[in-house]
């Protein structure tokens, strides 16, 4: 990891030191990359601009890049939705505790399997990796949750199906490469037990990989909707994503949302719906998009750790 940077810099200089004919390459490269970036960026900017515009401006196609007839009506209407706040809170709770379960499982499996002196290691690894290649599938999983009495229970969003073998292998690799053998030997000579060593030494050393895993799993909990769709019935337990689905895709909007907007004629309501949808898209992605620039490098790091040993 530490060496990657200087190597990269050196390569950069080499790119510049190419043949005279390479200019065309650089021009084409720069143009294509810029076009792709704009193709990704523009729709996002457009959505934000629409969400701050008036319903009339949106429906009459006046918005291109900046808000037209700036207003917060769309957002005000969204906040009137009785389930949106509940959804936010529920999602937050499921995400925190769900991620906790993920991480506990990852380190408890990852650490022992990183130890060379664990008899039967191969067997355990096969036990875990088999889950990568074969699974019960949607219906047997559903029946298990049902038999455990967890249907329409908040615990169903937290406890089941939290083990990811792929990530466990990443964590294990991290332990193998970042907890020096000498440290273990020294601790063993001092008479420290394996459990003691795990909590006192190995776990603190694994903080970076744990941080990456918290992000991976946290975003998975926040953005996923399938589990909630399968296991939850009562709307008071709905996640944010299910609420968003109601508004965005099923167009279920309550009358109190509509009342927020001045005119309540049917046509106006149709127009308002467009605006509300733009605002909901922004509101729904806001937490992740605010955090994203700060945590982006950890995702990249995580992908790199993962790619060391596919």
């Amino acid at each position: 990891m530490a060496q990657a940077h200087p190597v990269h810099l050196k390569k950069k200089k080499l790119s510049m030191l190419g043949q005279p004919g390479d200019r065309s390459f650089h021009v084409v490269n720069l143009t294509l990359l810029t076009l792709f970036m704009l193709a990704v960026l523009y729709p996002l900017v457009y959505v934000v601009a629409c969400s701050f515009s008036s319903a009339y401006a949106v429906i009459t196609n006046q918005v291109w890049l900046w808000p037209v007839e700036f207003t917060l009506d769309g957002y005000k209407a969204c906040l009137k939705h009785h389930l949106l706040m509940t959804g936010y809170l529920n999602s937050l709770v499921y995400m925190i505790f769900g991620t906790l379960v993920n991480i506990v499982l990852l380190v408890l499996a990852g650490y022992p399997l990183s130890r060379r002196d664990l008899p039967g290691k191969r067997g355990f690894i096969m036990f875990f990796t088999f889950t990568m290649f074969f699974s019960g599938g949607m219906i047997p999983n559903y029946l298990l949750v049902k038999d455990l009495g967890l249907l329409d229970n908040r615990l169903a969003m937290i406890i089941p199906f939290a083990f990811s073998c792929y990530n466990m292998i990443i964590v294990r690799t991290y332990f193998t490469t970042n907890v020096p053998e000498e440290l273990l030997e020294a601790a063993q000579i001092d008479g420290s037990s394996d459990i003691h060593f795990f909590f006192r030494i190995a776990l603190p050393l694994a903080k970076p990989v744990i941080a990456v895993m918290v992000l991976f799993h946290g975003i998975g909990h926040w953005n996923g909707y399938m589990r909630a769709l399968l296991y939850l019935n009562s709307s008071s337990k709905y996640t944010l994503q299910l609420v968003l689905r109601d508004i965005l895709l099923l167009s279920n909007m309550t009358t109190d949302m509509m009342a927020q907007l001045d005119d309540s004629a049917l046509e106006e309501m149709q127009n308002a719906m467009q605006l509300i949808k733009y605002a909901v898209i922004v509101l729904g992605s806001l937490p992740v998009m605010i955090l994203y620039p700060f945590v982006q490098k950890y995702f990249v790091k995580g992908m790199m750790i993962g790619s060391v040993k596919g």
Binding site: S15, P43, L108, M138, L248, K277
Partner: protein, 319 residues
């Protein structure tokens, strides 16, 4: 350092089992840690695998998994002889293969392009922006598609009209479904998908580029003969992983994109499984499980086959 020969000479002739037991006893702490994930995975991964047996039964909720009567391959025969079987299979493969063909090469090209960008700052900006859509949730993503591809107010149609074309009903006609599904996926995932190749490219020996540049190789030649071979193992592994999932489309996005006009093209195995068991008026758990198992087994065969071929041909495999 001749450790291997040392032990057997002096050690008393204790049984292998006894020595192993001693080692196991010494590592009890590790087993204690492992016990939790092992028990957990047994309950949440292996018990459902046992639950798969209802695919060979006529499952009735009252009788449970054990008590329901066996039915052999009845459920599988039902699926294969179903009028929708071929349609669902073709839909699944079409969407998935199209996604693979459209979505696989772009991240590689993107990574190569980025790695040769002269400005470091601009490279970081592009990366930052193009990774972002990956973090949108599926629900938001499909909402975005609906808004931007709307016939009258959608951004794409407005651009088409501004350039003199006429609006296309992307969402209202089945024939556009696959294109919309696949290219929106490319839009969302290409940037993030490039990360793995960017890190692989960082591992390519810079001396190779140096030597080639001195010998007069052009950028195109350097990409073709240094970069591409350098990341070929990564490409192979990624391809194997993708091939294994050719039978799976992913439930979340396609389910949200389904509507009455596109259902003939958008019904895939996963959505079919879900509907037969959980939204149908007469839930059919055994039948659904059989359909899901059919998919799982083919996927498993695909991973193993592609991996086998890859290890034979290029010696790059998963294990």
């Amino acid at each position: 350092m001749q450790a291997p020969t040392k032990a057997p000479v002096n050690a008393p002739k204790r049984g292998k089992a006894a020595r192993l037991w001693l080692q196991v006893k010494r590592r009890w702490g590790l087993y204690l840690l492992l016990a939790i994930p092992v028990a957990y995975v047994f309950l949440f991964n292996y018990v459902p695998m046992y639950g798969v047996t209802i695919a060979f039964k006529k499952y009735k909720i009252k009788q449970g998994i054990l008590g329901s009567p066996w039915a052999g391959l009845y459920q599988f025969r039902r699926f294969i002889s179903n009028a929708k079987f071929l349609q669902i299979l073709v839909n699944t493969l079409a969407v998935s293969v199209y996604s693979l063909l459209a979505g696989f090469p772009l991240p590689i090209l993107l990574a190569i392009g980025l790695s040769h960008l002269v400005s470091d700052k601009y490279r970081k900006t592009i990366q930052m922006i193009t990774y972002a859509p990956h973090f949108l949730s599926t629900v938001v993503m499909v909402g975005l598609i609906n808004q931007l591809l709307n016939m009258h107010t959608g951004l794409l149609n407005r651009i088409i009209e501004a350039m003199g074309g006429s609006a296309v009903n992307f969402l209202g006609k089945a024939q556009y479904f696959r294109h919309v599904y696949v290219w929106s996926g490319v839009w969302q995932g290409a940037g993030y998908g490039a990360i793995i190749y960017i890190s692989a490219l960082a591992g390519v020996d810079p001396q190779l580029h140096e030597a080639a540049a001195i010998d007069g190789a052009s950028m195109w030649q350097r990409i073709l003969h240094i970069d591409i071979p350098g990341i070929l193992p990564t490409i192979t592994i990624m391809l194997i992983l993708r091939m294994g999932s050719v039978m799976t489309v992913g439930f979340e996005k396609i389910y949200l994109m389904q509507n009455n006009t596109n259902i003939s093209l958008s019904e895939v195995i996963e959505t079919y499984v879900y509907k037969q068991a959980l939204t149908a008026s007469k839930p059919d758990f055994s039948y659904s499980t059989a359909v899901g198992l059919f998919q799982n087994v083919i996927s498993l065969i695909l991973v193993l086959t592609t991996n086998f071929i890859s290890t034979k041909v290029s010696s790059y495999g998963l294990w």
